[in-house]
Symmetry: C2
Subunit: 78 residues, 2 copies
């Protein structure tokens, strides 16, 4: 199955990379940009069924793939 | 509207970060992992409607947010 994980900085955490992208886009003439957040995207091809994978992936995200102090994660299994 | 962009290395491009994550996960005891790809996730809050945003976002992805030589991108507008 394909597991798609996104990890983003928590809203309360300063996101200099997002701010830099926002500034660059505005500088290039794109208008109406309110906010930009930059995070990581991780795609894992794994054997197993949805029910057994879900807790495994959740644990891996929490322990290893994100820093829960400053980042949020979400994932879907397809 | 919220624009969600994922940028991933093309399948033919060597992805050392993905390989490192795969090795680490296997080392931690997760089994049945076939492949891992690590990319970027960019979320943009923008004014505008879907029809005007789509070509703008596509252009921004192509020119600036990804490197089309070695990366693929996809996005959805919500």
């Amino acid at each position: 199955m394909k597991v798609k994980i996104t990890v983003t900085p928590k809203k309360a955490v300063f996101d200099p990379q997002g701010k830099a992208v926002q500034n660059a886009l505005e500088h290039m003439g794109y208008q109406g940009i309110e906010a930009v957040h930059v995070g990581r995207y991780i795609e894992i091809d794994m054997d197993g069924d949805r029910e057994t994978l879900r807790p495994q992936v959740d644990e891996a995200c929490h322990r290893f793939l994100s820093n829960p102090v400053i980042e949020d994660y979400s994932f879907e299994i397809e």
